[in-house]
C-alpha cells in the first residue's frame, strides 16, 4: 500500500515538475531574451543561455523611454492609496464590527452589493467628473478614489475582527477610552497581520493596473510603469528590439516578484482565506 503510494507520488511529482516548467518557462525565456543580442533573439533553435551575456539593455532602457518617471508615478499612486486607504478601510472595518449604530448592517450590505458594479460601467461618468475638475493627465483620478477605502479590504478585516473578543473592547469602553483609541491601540495591533496581507494584495493590484491609467494619462512623463512598458512594446517591436522590450518588462515585474517572494506566506494565506470564505 505505502509503496504504491510512493510510486503514485513520484509520478505526481514529475507531472508537477513538467507543469512548473510550463509556468515558469515563458518568464525565464523573457529574462534570457533581455540578456541577448539582437541576432540571438532570432536564433533557431532557441538559445536559452545567452553567450555572451549582454547587460547593456538594462542601462539602455533608462534612456529609451520614461521608465524612471513611470516607476516614480506608480510608486506615488500605490503608496499614497494603500497608506491612506488602509487607514480608512481598517477604521471602517472596526466600526462595522465592534461599534453599534443604526442601519449598520444595511450600509454594510449596500457596500458589499456595490462590488457587483464593474469598473467599466462607471468609468465614463468618472472620466467626466475628473475632467471637469481638470484632473485629466494628472495622477489624482488614480489616487483620490482609493483614499476613501477599499470595500474588499473592509469586508476581509471585518471577518477577521469577528474573532477578536468583544469583551476586550467593552472593557475598554467602560474605562472611558475614546473610540479612536479603541481602534488605534487595541484593535489595529490585533489585526496587523490581516492588514499587511490585504495591503500587499491591494498594492499589487494598483501597481499592475492598466485600464484606469490608460484612460487618464496621456503625456509620457505622467504615465505609470505599466503604460510605459506597453509603449516600449509598441515602439520597439517595429525595430524588433526585443531584448530592450523584455528588459523593460522585467523591470516592471521585478518589484512585485520580490514583494511576493518575501511575503509569499502571508499573501497565499490571505488569498486562500478570502476565496474560501468569499
Amino acid at each position: 500500500m505505502t509503496s504504491r503510494r510512493r510510486v503514485t507520488n513520484s509520478i505526481i511529482f514529475v507531472l508537477l515538475l513538467i507543469g512548473a516548467v510550463f509556468m515558469i518557462g515563458p518568464l525565464l525565456w523573457m529574462l534570457s531574451t533581455s540578456f541577448k543580442d539582437k541576432q540571438d533573439v532570432f536564433a533557431l533553435p532557441p538559445v536559452w543561455i545567452p553567450n555572451p551575456f549582454h547587460f547593456n539593455k538594462y542601462s539602455e532602457i533608462w534612456e529609451a523611454g520614461p521608465l524612471l518617471s513611470g516607476i516614480k508615478n506608480s510608486v506615488i499612486i500605490a503608496v499614497t492609496v494603500t497608506a491612506v486607504g488602509t487607514f480608512t478601510s481598517s477604521l471602517a472595518a472596526f466600526s462595522f464590527s465592534k461599534l453599534r449604530f443604526p442601519a449598520k448592517n444595511k450600509i454594510f450590505l449596500l457596500m458589499l452589493s456595490s462590488l457587483m458594479i464593474p469598473y467599466p460601467a462607471v468609468m465614463i461618468p468618472q472620466f467626466f467628473m475628473f475632467s471637469k475638475l481638470g484632473w485629466i493627465d494628472t495622477l489624482l483620478p488614480l489616487i483620490v478614489p482609493g483614499l476613501f477605502g477599499n470595500i474588499v479590504m473592509i469586508f476581509f478585516l471585518r471577518q477577521y475582527l469577528s474573532s477578536v473578543p468583544n469583551a476586550i473592547i467593552e472593557a475598554a469602553k467602560i474605562d472611558g477610552s475614546s473610540y479612536f483609541r479603541l481602534y488605534s491601540s487595541i484593535t489595529f495591533p490585533l489585526i496587523k497581520p490581516a492588514v499587511a496581507a490585504q495591503l500587499i494584495l491591494w498594492f499589487m493590484g494598483i501597481w499592475n493596473d492598466y485600464l484606469s491609467p490608460i484612460i487618464y494619462l496621456n503625456s509620457p512623463e505622467k504615465q505609470t510603469l505599466q503604460l510605459v512598458i506597453a509603449n516600449f512594446n509598441a515602439t520597439y517591436a517595429i525595430q524588433t528590439d526585443y531584448p530592450l522590450i523584455m528588459a523593460a518588462s522585467i523591470i516592471a515585474l521585478l518589484p512585485m516578484l520580490i514583494i511576493f517572494l518575501v511575503f509569499q506566506k502571508q499573501i497565499i494565506e490571505s488569498v486562500a482565506i478570502s476565496g474560501v470564505k468569499g
Binding site: P26, F42, F101, L109, A121, V122, N208, M256
Partner: protein, 296 residues
C-alpha cells in the same frame, strides 16, 4: 438620561463617522457614476455638446451593431478558458494536497504568473506567439508541428488568448482549491476506504461535493473577470485583431468612448455589461444562499 444611553449616543456618532469615508467614496465614485451611466445610455452624449434623450435607440443600435456582436461573441468565447482552468487547477491542487516533496516551491512557481503584471506578460506572450521566432512555435517544432502566426490569424488569436489567460490564472484557482481541500476532514476518506471505495469514488462522492462552493465561487468570479477582459487585447492586438476577432466588450466600450467620443453609445454597452454581471452575481447568491455569510 442615564450614563449608558449617553455612551450609546456617542458610539452612534463615532460609529458612523468611522465609516463615513468609504460610504462617501461609494456614493461619489460608484453610485453617482452608475446612475449617470444609466442616464447617459439613453442619450446621444458625445462628451462635448448637450445630452439629448433619445430613448432606447442606443440599445436598439446594439442589436444590429456587427462589431458589438463580434466583441460580445469574443468575450464569451474566451470564457472557454474557465472550465479548462478549473480542471487543471483542481488536478494540481489534488496533486499538491498529497504532500509530495517541494509543495511550497510548486505553490510559489505556479503562483508567480498571477502576481506578474498583465501588461508585461501580455508583451511576453505576444512575442512568444510570433509566427517565426516565437517560443510557442519553436516548442511545437519539436513535435514536427509548424504553428501559425498566432496573433495574426483570426482562428488562432482567441485560443492564443485563452491559453495565456489559463496560464495567468491557474495559480490563483489552484490555491483556492488547495485551501478547500485542506479543510476537508480526513475521516471522510478513511470511512470511505473502509467501505471499499476506490480513489475515483472518493473523489466523486467526497472531494467534489466538498469543494463545490469553491468551484462555484471560482466560476462566478471568473465570469465577472472574464467579461471585463481588456488589457491583453489592448497590448497584443491594438486594433482589435484580425477581423476584430480578439476585441472584447470592454475593448469596444473603450474604443467607442475614448476613441470616437460616442459616450452615450458606450454607456449603453457599459450598462449592458453591468446588468450581465449583476445577473451572474445574483444567481451566485441565490444558489449559494445556504452557505452565504451572515451579517452579524
Amino acid at each position: 438620561m442615564n450614563a449608558k444611553s449617553n455612551l450609546y449616543r456617542k458610539e452612534k456618532i463615532y460609529g458612523f463617522l468611522f465609516i463615513l469615508p468609504p460610504l462617501l467614496g461609494l456614493l461619489i465614485f460608484t453610485l453617482y457614476p452608475m446612475i449617470y451611466s444609466i442616464y447617459g445610455s439613453f442619450t446621444d452624449w458625445d462628451g462635448l455638446g448637450q445630452m439629448n434623450l433619445i430613448g432606447l435607440s442606443n440599445f436598439t443600435d446594439l442589436l444590429t451593431d456587427e462589431l458589438f456582436h463580434k466583441a460580445l461573441f469574443n468575450t464569451l468565447f474566451m470564457m472557454l478558458g474557465i472550465p479548462i482552468g478549473i480542471t487543471l487547477a483542481l488536478l494540481l491542487a489534488l496533486g499538491l494536497n498529497r504532500g509530495v516533496p517541494g509543495t511550497t516551491a510548486f505553490r510559489v512557481i505556479y503562483y508567480v504568473p498571477v502576481i506578474s503584471s498583465l501588461a508585461a506578460v501580455s508583451i511576453m506572450w505576444n512575442w512568444a506567439y510570433n509566427g517565426d521566432y516565437g517560443l510557442v512555435n519553436q516548442f511545437l517544432d519539436l513535435f514536427g508541428i509548424s504553428g501559425p502566426n498566432w496573433m495574426a490569424n483570426k482562428f488562432t488569436v482567441k485560443p492564443a488568448l485563452i491559453i495565456m489567460a489559463v496560464w495567468k490564472g491557474l495559480g490563483y484557482t489552484m490555491l483556492l482549491y488547495l485551501a478547500a481541500l485542506q479543510s476537508v476532514s480526513r475521516s471522510y476518506y478513511e470511512a470511505a476506504e473502509l467501505d471499499g471505495a476506490n480513489g475515483f469514488q472518493s473523489f466523486r462522492h467526497i472531494t467534489w461535493p466538498m469543494v463545490r462552493p469553491v468551484t462555484f465561487f471560482i466560476i462566478v468570479t471568473n465570469i465577472i473577470g472574464g467579461s471585463q477582459i481588456f488589457t491583453e487585447m489592448n497590448i497584443m492586438t491594438p486594433t482589435g485583431g484580425p477581423e476584430y476577432a480578439s476585441a472584447s466588450v470592454v475593448f469596444y466600450i473603450w474604443q467607442k468612448a475614448f476613441g470616437n467620443f460616442q459616450m452615450g453609445y458606450a454607456s449603453a454597452m457599459a450598462v449592458f455589461l453591468g446588468v450581465f454581471i449583476f445577473v451572474v452575481t445574483l444567481i451566485q447568491f441565490r444558489m449559494n444562499e445556504k452557505q452565504s455569510f451572515d451579517v452579524d
